[in-house]
Amino acid sequence: MDDQVPISLVCEDLLPRDLRAELCIAGIAVDGGQQLVRFRIDPGGAFQRGGFVRSESGARFLVGVTERYLPDGPRQRVGGSDGVPAGDVPDQLRAASGWAYTWDRDRDHWRDARAAESPRWAGSSRDITWAARAAEDRARHQHITHYVYLRSGKFVYGNNPPPDGAFFSVTKIGDWSLHQGRETYPLNTAPDTGSAANLTSQRQLGPARLARLDQAAAEGVVLPFRTHDVPRRAAPPSTQRRHR
């Protein structure tokens, strides 16, 4: 008997609003078979990180996180869990996202680890929409991530990011992101006139960034074999096991 629930029916429960804000979830896509939902999440120091939730039999779910560390690097599985009840999916997604941070903490930021594309190529336009479309087309045709940024009143699009300042990126499959300093924000759509303001804005963007700053302020990352201190460990088990 197939007791799988169409995943679009429970998407709001699997990816509740507060989780979407916290993990900066964007580009939610449900597959035709209604068993899998994919999306992008806050990638930390990596270029791109994705999450997925797959419906298994018996109201259980497979939750996983994948990562593309460099703009055109391979996609790799970072971690995940299976046999997860629906009510625990958001927490497991948070956990897997946290593990991804842990595994990447000793790696260079993707901008430092990335090799420059050669030969360099760039074009420009005064129209952000036009520049975004041109970057997207070239990224798709050349299979290389392209970047869009503002220089001297023009929107530059090319195969290398600017040395400083905020910029957009688009992958060969049309995934857009906004990069501000070391932060990367997955975007649902290509940038337009409104979002272009983010290229010059210095203000913080939202809960995801706040969460990350909060995390950074909490005495760095833990060593692999350091246990949580007792007060912190005391709370999670009760929430894990008493949520029915």
């Binding site: 599985r77 971690g79 299976d82 009510g87 946290g98 833990v222 074999f225 246990t227």
Partner: protein, 252 residues
Amino acid sequence: MTDDRVPIEMIRDLLLPEPLRTELGVTGITITSRHSLTCRIDPGNAFERRASIRNIIDTAFAVLVSERYGPYDPIGYLCGSNQVPAAEVSFQLQAASGWACIFDEDREHWYDARKHRSPAWSTSLRAGKLASAAEAVEGAAERARRLNVTHFMYTEPGALVYGNNPPSPGTDFYSVTRDGDWSLHQGVATYPQADAPDARSFARLPGRSASRSQMHPARLARADRGAGGQVIAFQPRTGTPASRATAPRRRR
């Protein structure tokens, strides 16, 4: 390429800290290889549940839970996580144990779901002597191993009985699998045992149901869970507990 993995024996107490062992009724911790261990945990409504922790690569672990629902069933994989950092292993084991409880909650207790073993076989020894207790334990374990069938031990007035079917409801009893794993069954609760029972254990058996204050912590935990209401499969957590659970994970 070098293998950076630490022998799991050295970090056993980190992976399975004492409070966790108490909460989940962890027993029979066995180092199965340099980088993996298994143990038995509180099985909930199932007959037997096992956890396995494997150091896959570097400091990344897999945490797996498997279960034997009925005493004569094979062990099957239930749920688990991979690429888990060492410091999160105990947390994930708690979570996976909780998931297993959730999935079994709507199933009958193993005692009610099991099929009666036929032909039924049992033998009894006169109780009250140390020799007879040891003899019964040995006999049950030997038959379980030789016949590949879980056996059960219980007391009747003046006698120790072991056979291939458990006693009638309301009687506490021990069980031993073909692998020699012993459990104590009191009412609906099952307690994995590290060792085979001895004469003193049998002396305590006739008690039908312990009071709450006498309960093992694992049983208390289960009772607490039971008081939490029914499973609602797609009920999301409220914001408060979720954020409490998240904070320690992301602030490493």
